[in-house]
Symmetry: C2
Subunit: 162 residues, 2 copies
DNA sequence: CCCGAGACGTAATAACATAACATGCACCAG
DNA sequence: CTGGTGCATGTTATGTTATTACGTCTCGGG
């Protein structure tokens, strides 16, 4: 099955890996961050796969490429990428996915198809964000939010009907 | 430190454990579900603690009370309670917490204080739910949603200022 | 030149979760 | 009453995810 993972539309991403890495490179340079070889490679792996990968999946690929083979190698690279917004962690899956909208500061929302495993990253509107409202009324100061929904994507819904 | 975990207000919950268990009991009876001793005890434990507990924490308490001491004992009880809405899992913490609004069908949102570890369960308004909107525009059918925010609760914010 | 910060490597372990299989018990059809 | 079915529980073993701790290297500043 084709997980068809960008949003839920097909697309050709022959160039988008290189573009995204270049953008990350630039962004890190500007921010004084080190996009080291492991970190860059980890990002590439997630971009190439274009779906949510477990830390150990990433680790295996890194090890193949001559990097260390112990968990901290992957976790540290993923921590860096996550912390700086190039990658998101899907808590529900304990998995990581390259950010579909890097550069912009955002609170991503994920739609996880339980049929085909595709994960779409949706943009949220911060102005009438549910959580922002809640925070306002309760006096809670949000630093990070997790918005994830499991369900069935349009493609799989269509297939079901057949 | 007092985790002060119901919402972020103190309250006396000397009776609420018994009440909540009784309500669960009734609800199960109506629905033809078995609230067996392990399940009931697991629910009590979460209600008594009134904060998010890991499965192994619950397991340890169950074992003390003479139930099995192997992980599936806790996971099965928690699965049952979660499935039927008496307990929620906080994905971000890999932990479980008794539902603060049982009986009503709802999509809970959690506010997790990173300072005092308190977790508040907020009610969401399904009508202008962020995710529902996204689902509508993309044609995705949501079955379960996770809404969690990490940050600082009002009490800890107040303490910080001192 | 030396030092401190940060990045990477490895070993060991902790924390979280499930698979697979056996037993006991309630219920019901024959 | 007997045998079967479904469900809950228990155990063993294992799988998966994540972190701690510590050593080494490199680079830039003093």
């Amino acid at each position: 099955m084709d997980p068809n993972p960008i949003g839920f539309q097909h697309h050709d991403h022959s160039h988008c890996v290189a573009d995204a890495v270049a953008a990350a490179d630039r962004s890190c340079r500007e921010a004084g961050l080190q996009l080291t070889p492991v970190r860059k490679r980890a990002l590439e792996i997630l971009l190439e796969e274009h779906r949510a990968l477990g830390a150990y999946d990433v680790l295996a690929r890194l090890a193949e490429d001559g990097f260390g083979s112990q968990p901290p190698v992957a976790y540290r690279a993923l921590d860096f990428l996550t912390k700086h917004g190039f990658v998101h962690k899907i808590e529900k899956l304990n998995a990581f996915i390259a950010c579909a909208h890097p550069g912009e500061l955002h609170t991503p929302a994920f739609l996880i198809c339980t049929t085909c495993q595709a994960v779409a990253e949706a943009e949220t509107d911060p102005s009438h964000s549910l959580l922002a409202n809640i925070a306002e009324t309760t006096g809670f100061r949000i630093s990070r939010a997790v918005l994830e929904a499991e369900g069935t994507c349009p493609n799989c819904l269509a297939s079901e009907k057949r």
